[in-house]
């Protein structure tokens, strides 16, 4: 864990997870829960980025494969893969990620606007970039990520 830095701006809590080549961060207020080993039921004729649906305590939750979304090769579900369930409107949506690594406290002032392109992924999926000691965290723009794909 990181030692909390001396804060002097607004602090955001970010959940960190990996998807393909990217280390992503998501404001923890969006995250409803993180699940492992839930059987995903394939939905044929669904948009490509949807890898299926899961039963989340009786609710049918659509699971989106972040890798496909970002244009990476899809990863088969394994021990590490996890589903980050986020709430959008009145619907829960699962994000299939390679692994969930950490939760960090990020100072607002350390967050920079995203470049137009990040590891081959277009920038509009991200709200900003947060620098860790060894790597960059791409902060997800969850609304953009989910709404854009209704077409």
């Amino acid at each position: 864990m990181h030692t909390p830095p001396a804060f002097n701006g607004n602090i955001r809590k970010l959940a960190l997870f990996e998807s393909g080549d990217l280390l992503c961060g998501l404001d923890i207020t969006y995250v409803q829960e993180i699940n492992k080993n839930i059987a995903v039921t394939v939905v044929h004729r669904a948009p490509q980025y949807v890898c299926g649906v899961i039963n989340l305590r009786g609710e049918i939750v659509t699971v989106i494969d972040l890798r496909t979304k970002f244009g990476f090769a899809p990863l088969s579900q394994d021990e590490e893969t996890q589903i980050v369930v986020v709430r959008q409107g009145d619907e829960s949506i699962g994000l299939l990620v390679d692994s969930v690594s950490d939760v960090v406290l990020a100072d607002e002032k350390d967050i920079e606007p995203p470049p137009s392109n990040l590891a081959g992924v277009t920038g509009h999926f991200f709200n900003g970039i947060y620098k860790l000691e060894h790597s960059l965290v791409a902060i997800l723009n969850i609304d953009e990520l989910l709404i854009r794909e209704h077409e």
């Binding site: 039921t41 939905v43 949807v50 649906v53 009786g58 049918i60 619907e91 794909e149 209704h150």
Partner: protein, 1050 residues
């Protein structure tokens, strides 16, 4: 009176009043229909309803409601006493009053009071003319209407002493009565104590005061001694007199109702503190002189505003207490079972587990059922509203329309019933406005001037069907075409390619209305699309058929409930899917070796031949976008990808003489692999093993059916429908998802969506065309035959019309008694015989453990033919050769499915095997001293010879004609005693022939028996209408003979 500020009471009152009002409407209409011949009970019912509303309104200080209800009550009272005939205008005023009361009740608290002057004055106008009559029975204060006409009644003292109580009670909407106990004899008289009176009437009202022998008695006295007679009880109750009398079991002449007159001298206006002008008119006054409408300042509530508040959705419903009790019991059971379950989980004995889980299963499903039943409501709740709609509309439009309601008791989920309201209203209005013509137009078209609109509800296959049938002008499809062209929704070629039923469905497109003029009832073209949308929302499937000049039928299929639906679980590869049972028509399993016969291709489309009809097929795997099919490898017990490119390629196996398999088109596999695989198989070829059979779900996608090929059928389950997320809305092929017992998600298939995705309607059309061509061929004299085998290589056919049922039996069920084969069946003996007992055919194989019994009626009993195999049921029109194979028990042969097939003559077999029976059943030859002549009119040479043959066999002389024309000629020439005629014939068919014969007075009594292969009620009705005496099936020789004998012997 102060307005009671108690929301709960108010709510309860409103709810109750809504229920009363719902009932009132249909009751009033029924009263109107009965006219002067009033149904006392019905009027009383409405009276009571109004009375209750008045009472409640008075209690809650809703004065406008009270006044209106009161006026209505007065009017009803007059109807009840036969002082007023319930004419349409009287009923209209009552209906308007009821409507207004409804609106008043729905008004939010504190809203501006609605103007009640209209309906009120309408009622009063009706009441006033009958005033002279009316006053006559409104005797001076203190007297009663039904009571004696004495000026001073013995209970006057009671009335004067307790004016305040009486008024209070009356304002509370209660009726006040004097009950006399004065001439009671025997035990009653001795024991007349307060408690006895309390016992008798205390539960239904309140005893206000009591006097014994003219002396007031304190009702709080607890003394139990008997009162001196006569005792008069001042009593207030919500009941009316009739109810009170029957409820308390009192003689009617001892109960006296205290009328308004009592309160008239009192300054009622002073008690009414509300400044509403019409309220200042005491009820009494409203009876005597109607306040002129102008005297009431109009209130500033425009009609449109009030309309908006009208639509109230019932948010509560009354539930039968029994159901609730049952629910409570079940909930208790469930709790107990859960406790048990928990206990067992802790101690975990496997065996107990089974028992408890079974119980849990049982209780849960019962509980579910009980809970569901609380939501069920009769569809009549919606239907009955249309009595009013139709009445008002037809009056307005000047049409004469009878509304016939059938099946109002059919129950459906409340949500669905509510969702039905608007669409049905629209459809009914449409029918009334555009469907049914004006009376003069109807008469000109040769129809009755009164049109009929039928609303029907009935169950069919776990669904509820609602039909709206009118006998109006029908919908002209050419007008729909014009309209669709002008709107540009379709181009001409598209429209020309459409069939009528498809064109009719276009009226559901937004903006498409074929009404010539827009009326305020309908015709703006909005609506039908909304109807469609609304019904689709609750899972309704539509069908519409219409004949110009004859009328229109709209058919709506609805599920019983939406929450939990019975479904079939199927699988493709490892994935499971649910298909709602409502969409399922049937399940077809095509054995591997039959695939080539049954499944074929028309263009790119796959079709299956099912009972002579072609049905488009879709592989579910393809529909879901997966290119692969799967099969379960019987050796390895696992799913493998099927290598065949096409489903029907499975037929590709051919056996050569040497028994070596030659593979023709087994997918893109090489010869080497084939050999290799060949070695892995243990003699049984997988492609003809049961595992290679194809499972087809025949599903209904609204107007057409299609087959869905799935890998496996798993189970039938009740599923709870859950919606899919927004990202999956556009998939089209799913109706939702459900969670299965193991916690996994199964998707629910949308069969209509699938057919759209696979653009199946065009395929359906192709298939339809093909089917129509085939139907053309089959139409005339088609026979439906049951194909069977006695021995493995001989194919036999039995006319299906004669068969009552088919049973599969074990060989050891056959008993040999008295040299005959028999079988016990439902407590009786079923005589059995095999075809080879009578005819020279190969015998039944000895080794088969199971046989089939084809049972058929003979005389008044039943017999059974034993066969070894049932092949199929087919409808064919084949030339029957009645010479080559003709022999006792065989009437001829035909080539069916490329095989010589012998037609079994059941009658011939019976007469050969059991000649006694034939004599016994009075079917034998008749006394030949008097020869009777029978004319056989039949175009098929085979049947003609058949019938002439057996007619002569039993001793009649037969004359043969090939069609109706020849028949008529023969009738002229010969003295004919009876006619046997076919229906489907060239030149002149049987119906026309019969009609012509009947038209001639000479032959009006001539017995005509129609013999036909067209079975069915409709065909029979047509025949009987044309004038035939009997309608029989062609090959049912026994019955035909019996009927001939019946007509000619007596």
């Amino acid at each position: 009176m102060a307005l009671i500020d108690d929301d709960e009471t108010l709510l309860a009152f409103k709810e109750e009043s809504h229920e009363h009002l719902d009932g009132i409407e249909s009751d009033l209409l029924a009263i109107e229909e009965a006219g002067a011949d009033i149904d006392q009970e019905l009027v009383n019912k409405v009276f009571r309803a109004m009375h209750s509303i008045k009472g409640g309104a008075g209690f809650l200080g809703m004065n406008a409601v009270k006044t209106l209800a009161h006026a209505a009550e007065d009017l009803l009272n007059k109807i009840r006493n036969k002082q007023l005939v319930p004419t349409p205008s009287v009923i209209s005023s009552l209906l308007d009053a009821a409507d207004l009361v409804n609106r008043l009740l729905n008004q939010p608290k504190g809203a501006i009071e609605l103007d009640i002057s209209g309906p009120l004055s309408a009622i009063n106008d009706i009441l006033s003319p009958s005033l002279p009559q009316g006053t006559s029975d409104q005797a001076p204060p203190g007297t009663t209407r039904q009571g004696s006409l004495e000026q001073v009644v013995p209970w006057q003292g009671l009335l004067t002493r307790h004016v305040a109580e009486i008024i209070d009670s009356r304002l509370g909407g209660q009726g006040v009565f004097i009950i006399e106990y004065d001439q009671l004899t025997g035990d009653d008289a001795r024991d007349l104590t307060l408690s006895a009176i309390q016992n008798s009437i205390g539960s239904i009202g309140q005893i206000l005061a009591l006097q014994a022998n003219g002396i007031p008695v304190n009702i709080l006295d607890t003394e139990t001694s008997a009162y001196p007679l006569p005792v008069h009880v001042l009593f207030s109750t919500m009941m009316d007199k009739g109810m009170l009398v029957s409820f308390a079991n009192l003689p009617a002449e001892r109960v006296h109702e205290i009328q308004e007159q009592t309160e008239a001298p009192l300054p009622i206006t002073a008690m009414e503190s509300t400044p509403v002008p019409d309220e200042q008119v005491p009820p009494k006054v409203s009876l005597d002189s109607a306040p002129p409408p102008s005297s009431l300042p109009p209130k500033a509530v425009p009609a449109e505003v009030t309309e908006q508040t009208k639509a109230v959705v019932d948010s509560s419903l009354r539930v039968n207490v029994k159901i609730l009790d049952n629910l409570m019991t079940l909930a208790g059971e469930l709790v107990l079972t859960r406790n048990q379950f928990l206990q067992i989980v802790h101690s975990s004995h496997q065996q107990d587990f089974d028992a408890v889980s079974q119980r849990l299963d049982l209780v849960t499903s019962e509980l579910q059922e009980a809970i569901m039943s609380t939501r069920m409501q009769p569809v009549g709740n919606v239907f009955n509203k249309f009595k009013r709609v139709v009445r008002d509309l037809s009056q307005k439009l000047g049409k004469e329309i009878d509304l016939v309601i059938e099946g109002g008791e059919v129950e459906m989920d409340k949500t669905i019933i509510e969702a039905l309201n608007d669409p049905l209203t629209h459809l009914v209005r449409n029918s009334v406005d555009h469907g049914i013509e004006m009376p003069d137009k109807r008469l000109a078209a040769g129809k009755a001037s009164t049109g009929t609109l039928q609303l029907k509800a009935f169950h069919e296959g776990g669904q509820v069907i609602i039909e709206i049938v009118d006998d109006g002008g029908g919908i002209d499809t050419s007008r729909i075409k014009e309209k669709a062209l002008s709107m540009g929704t379709h181009d001409k070629s598209q429209l020309d390619a459409m069939q009528d039923h498809e064109l009719l469905k276009l009226i559901f497109l937004p903006g498409l209305s074929t009404a010539k003029e827009v009326t305020d009832v309908s015709g703006r073209g909005v609506g039908m699309d909304v109807v469609h949308a609304n019904l689709s929302k609750v899972g309704g499937v539509f069908d519409i058929s219409s004949k110009v000049g004859k009328g229109t039928t709209i058919n709506i299929k609805l599920p019983l409930t939406l929450a939990i639906i019975p479904s079939l679980i199927v699988s493709v590869a490892t994935e499971r899917y649910a298909i709602p049972q409502v969409n399922l028509v049937e399940l077809v399993r095509v054995p591997a070796k039959k695939i080539s016969d049954r499944i074929e291709r028309i263009g790119e489309a796959l079709v299956i031949r099912l009972r002579g009809k072609l049905l488009p097929l879709i592989s579910l795997a393809n529909a879901l976008g997966s290119e692969q099919r799967h099969y379960l490898d019987p050796n390895e017990q696992q799913n493998k990808v099927c290598r065949r490119q096409r489903v029907e390629d499975r037929r590709s196996i051919l056996y050569s003489q040497t028994g070596i398999n030659i593979q023709a088109a087994d997918g893109p596999t090489g010869v080497d692999q084939t050999k290799e695989r060949q070695e892995n198989r243990d003699g049984v070829d997988r492609r003809i093993s049961p595992h290679s059979a194809i499972n087809i779900l025949v599903v209904s996608a609204g107007k057409f059916h299609y087959g869905l090929i799935v890998d496996k059928l798993l189970d039938s389950e009740e599923i709870v429908v859950k919606p899919l997320g927004s990202h999956l809305r556009k998939c089209q092929v799913y109706a939702g998802a459900t969670i299965q017992g193991d916690g996994k998600v199964a998707l629910i298939l949308d069969v209509v969506g699938i057919s759209k995705v696979m653009s199946l309607s065009s395929v359906a059309d192709q298939v339809h065309d093909r089917a129509q061509q085939e139907a053309e061929r089959v139409k005339q004299d088609a026979q439906t035959l049951l194909l069977v085998r006695n021995s493995p290589h001989e194919q036999l056919a039995i006319p299906l019309n004669l068969v009552s049922r088919i049973e599969k039996i074990r060989r050891d069920q056959i008993e040999l008694t008295g040299g005959r084969h028999n079988m016990q069946y439902r407590g009786a003996t079923l005589p059995l015989f095999s075809i080879d007992e009578a005819a020279v055919v190969s015998p039944l194989p000895e080794e088969s453990a199971h046989l089939y019994v084809v049972a058929f009626p003979f005389g008044d009993r039943e017999m059974g033919v034993l066969v070894s195999e049932i092949i199929d049921i087919i409808t064919v029109t084949v030339a029957i050769d009645d010479t080559t194979h003709k022999q006792p028990g065989i009437m001829g042969s035909a080539i069916i499915m490329e095989q010589i097939t012998m037609l079994v003559d059941l009658f011939g077999i019976v007469s050969k095997v059991m000649p006694d029976w034939v004599r016994h059943t009075n079917l034998g030859a008749v006394d030949t001293s008097q020869i009777r002549n029978i004319l056989v009119v039949e175009d098929s040479p085979f049947f003609n010879r058949q019938m002439c043959g057996f007619v002569s066999e039993i001793g009649y002389r037969s004359f043969s004609a090939n069609d109706g024309l020849e028949g008529l000629a023969l009738l002229e020439k010969e003295k004919i005693d009876l006619v046997l005629t076919d229906i489907e014939m060239p030149n002149m068919d049987g119906l026309e022939f019969t009609a012509r014969v009947r038209a001639n007075a000479r032959w009006s009594e001539l017995p005509i028996i129609a013999v036909t292969s067209l079975s069915g009620e409709a065909a029979e009705k047509r025949g009987l209408k044309a004038g035939v005496n009997e309608y029989l099936i062609k090959l049912d020789r026994e019955k035909i003979i019996h009927t001939i004998n019946r007509y000619l012997k007596r």
